[in-house]
Symmetry: C2
């Protein structure tokens, strides 16, 4: 028996890849040319805007960070330092918000994978903020760094996933104080897509910028495009905490992307009515976006919506609901109103396993998100159990729909060739078109290719093991991990990153991160 060389193994992997589940899908830009779903009228948008202005002016927002309070005071806002509370002049917030770009390019280390954020561009982004990993072989368990890196690999190999993702699962086997280093190291070395790192406090965000400097070989804060970004959640109602503000200050000054996303569950973090929840979301989002523009005018920022409701029976968050669909679409309408790119969500659901409920609730989030022209669809795949868990199988299941959206949004051509009136004339009434030259030329490429759905007849499906969707998905993610090859990265860059991680690991032992 001879041992295969690494070149031979690569060649074998490459050959297998010709039948890879994702082989037929391009990595490209996706635009939604259909008119956006709008669920409220322009007059209602004005009502919400007025309510938000009232909140900003009369009720105010708490900012738990002394530096930020000083900034607001200097900018002319009314500040109560002892209460850490800020009230805004009528025009002030809107003047600042107007400085934010309506769209921008997010640079990837592989420039072919840069993303455009804004307009009618749709980007799919992995799940984030998750505690547990789950698969059909091992069930649910606290995530590890191995899980984290597996999800990075799956995001990299998935052409429907436009970012490598962040906070994919908590790597419980790595110390809190330097988890961020290993997240970023993985995102950079296992993927060449645009990447993210959670700006949770000044230390983490500062490290992330330094790691980006190493990868991009320059001071990224001087580049014309951001290379890094992350989610900021207000801790609703009406509050930004110290951790989030430290990250905002650091990324904001560095010109990196801040995705300002109030996390509002109506009935808990806001009044129970969705109108009130989105008015509050809007006030919180505008205040956060204004802060970013105060830090560095023109810095890239997204208006984020993550408003759903509480199930008043169980007290648990509800996802994949009519209320969530309204909030998602209204958020998009508000973002368009303010000429800001919009962040929504995809695979939100509350099922504990990747079954029917998981899928229909996911579709109840993804369909309104795509139809509303959501530019940045977080959690596009993988969620289970209200986002506590990511399922390997569901990552695959949800990707099937993302691929369908890519084809659906590409639209269809109507011309002499596709109308094929000569073929309609050539086939007799009641005849069939299987064998016509028009069909034969196109049969392999005309239709969207699915990779997961089973279209066999019942008997063949039975004979092939009566597998359900999750069982088929289980095979696919394993095949994909098997096929994975890390994208090329300069060895010196990789070493510099590794050294940075090692040095910072030592320095951060015992340090309070969130300051």
């Amino acid at each position: 028996m001879t041992t295969a060389t690494s070149a031979e193994r690569r060649a074998a992997r490459r050959q297998r890849r010709t039948v890879s589940p994702f082989a037929h899908f391009p990595f490209g830009h996706i635009q939604n040319h259909f008119p956006p779903l709008e669920v409220i009228t322009p007059e209602q948008i004005e009502q919400l805007h007025e309510a938000s202005r009232h909140i900003l002016e009369e009720i105010g927002i708490t900012f738990m960070d002394a530096e930020v309070l000083d900034l607001w005071e200097k900018a002319g806002a009314r500040v109560d330092h002892s209460r850490q509370h800020v009230w805004f002049d009528r025009g002030m917030v809107m003047e600042l918000v107007a400085k934010a770009p309506a769209s921008f390019r997010w640079r990837a280390r592989n420039r072919d994978k840069d993303r455009i954020i804004g307009g009618n561009y749709i980007n799919f982004v992995p799940h984030g903020g998750v505690i547990f990993a789950q698969d059909m072989d091992n069930g649910r368990r606290p995530g590890t760094l191995e899980d984290y890196y597996n999800f990075l690999k799956l995001a990299q190999i998935n052409p429907l996933m436009h970012f490598s993702g962040d906070q994919l699962v908590v790597p419980h086997d790595i110390r809190v104080s330097y988890r961020h280093l290993h997240r970023s190291y993985g995102a950079i070395t296992l993927s060449d897509k645009a990447y993210m790192e959670a700006p949770h406090g000044r230390i983490i965000a500062g490290d992330a910028v330094q790691m980006a400097n190493i990868v991009f070989g320059t001071d990224v804060t001087k580049l014309p495009e951001p290379v890094l970004g992350g989610i900021i959640n207000s801790s609703s109602p009406l509050r930004y905490d110290d951790r989030m503000l430290g990250g905002m200050v650091t990324y904001g000054r560095a010109g990196q992307v801040l995705i300002i996303t109030p996390f509002v569950l109506a009935g808990a973090m806001s009044p129970i009515t969705i109108a009130s929840a989105v008015a509050q979301q809007n006030a919180e989002a505008l205040a956060g976006i204004a802060l970013v523009q105060l830090l560095r005018p023109g810095s890239p920022v997204l208006y984020g919506g993550f408003t759903s409701n509480i199930d008043m029976k169980s007290g648990a968050p509800a996802f994949g609901t009519p209320e969530g669909a309204w909030a998602m679409a209204i958020g998009a309408q508000l973002a368009r109103h303010y000429k800001l790119p919009y962040r929504g969500s995809g695979s939100l659901n509350t099922s504990k396993i990747p079954d029917a409920q998981a899928s229909y609730e996911t579709m109840w989030t993804t369909w309104p998100a795509v139809m509303a022209h959501t530019n940045f669809i977080m959690h596009a795949t993988g969620w289970l159990d209200g986002g506590l868990t990511v399922s390997y199988e569901k990552v695959i299941i949800d990707t099937e729909s993302l691929a369908m959206f890519q084809s659906f949004l590409a639209g269809l051509k109507i011309n002499q060739d596709t109308l094929a009136l000569d073929m309609i004339a050539a086939v007799p009434p009641g005849g069939h078109h299987f064998g016509t030259p028009h069909t034969q030329e196109r049969y392999a490429t005309e239709f969207h290719p699915i990779f997961l759905g089973d279209r066999q007849n019942f008997e063949n499906w039975q004979m092939s093991g009566s597998l359900d969707t999750a069982q088929r998905a289980n095979r696919i993610w394993k095949q994909l991990l098997e096929e994975f090859e890390a994208p090329p990265l300069d060895a010196a860059v990789e070493q510099a990153l590794r050294e940075f991680v090692q040095r910072r690991e030592r320095e951060l032992v015992g340090v309070e991160l969130y300051t």
Copy 2:
């Protein structure tokens, strides 16, 4: 032990019903006030219209019925009797189509359950044309009359289902020659909703009209509204067969509803390109609608779309695809262009079990159908395996989404009360709204109530048996059948119907039905 009287049993059932899964949903009219999803431009609609006119004028349509050929000839079309083929003048078809009503009322025997068909009204209609019944206890088997009546009961008890349905499953235990009598008898006696009977030939359609006369106590052909209707499929390409035409002639002259639905699978019954498939669909639909107007001007008719594609790998039909979504939305755009009500579909999918694939493909049909303002959504629940099978569990699973659409389309109110700015002011930053009077007044009614989805935390879900969606649905359909009570029907009417069925059973033995 005493035996409960029937009144006591009814009372007990009524009491249980207060916690019935569907208890919270009204039976009402659903309107989609959001702008319709439009996937092609007005110029592209014109291109399709022109292509259809070319087909009607130059290529023509086959009508396999001598009476219909004579009608066309008298109306001025060019007819080749030996080939049973008809070519239409440019203006002729459109003049006839213009006589069809843009919307109409479909009368139910319980007038509170009349339906409006047209405009932005959305109606959900059960599955039809199905061979097998399937449930988790007994698996898949050929349908029986018991299954048929069970599905009628489930449609009646389901407030999201607006019709009782037709051809719910083939009742294999009843002779072909009088199955229609038992279908209609069940639809009339087990439901008081608007009902349908497949107009498959003159005999079946004639019997259906006579049974309607008995129920409505009058000659229904003279009523201002139709009381009966059914699906007509062209046998594409470009052909209406004798069975369908016999039904069209009978229902058309009787002023009953004809839902003209070309059944086009691109690559098989039309050229492979969706542009061509919908152009052909349009020509076939317009020819059928024109025929109805020739039979009785102003008779209610729907433009039906049922265009999807063939999976070129397996040769099987594909459902829940981007191509199907385009075709559904384009069909709606064409119907609006011609000022006709539109019929589309809901739960189309190819899965063999009610799993994730079944649900995401179903959502890939239902979402575009609802967003496109489809007035009559056939197969709104229950499909599996390309429509060969109806699943008891999936009827329940799909109903969860129909209920969500009802809530979603009701829209949300934005006013001083729902904005609740006083409550936002009253709760401190980072506080919670659980206990405010605004929340307390509304917590039981504010949010859409789900009946199937599981929102428990993981541990409680495990302790309650780790049931998946289909297992929970299994319990629900059994509970609903248990709760079912037939709606009141005059005893004399019921007896007259029974006598009609018995007489016609005898008369129809050995008769060739489809003439």
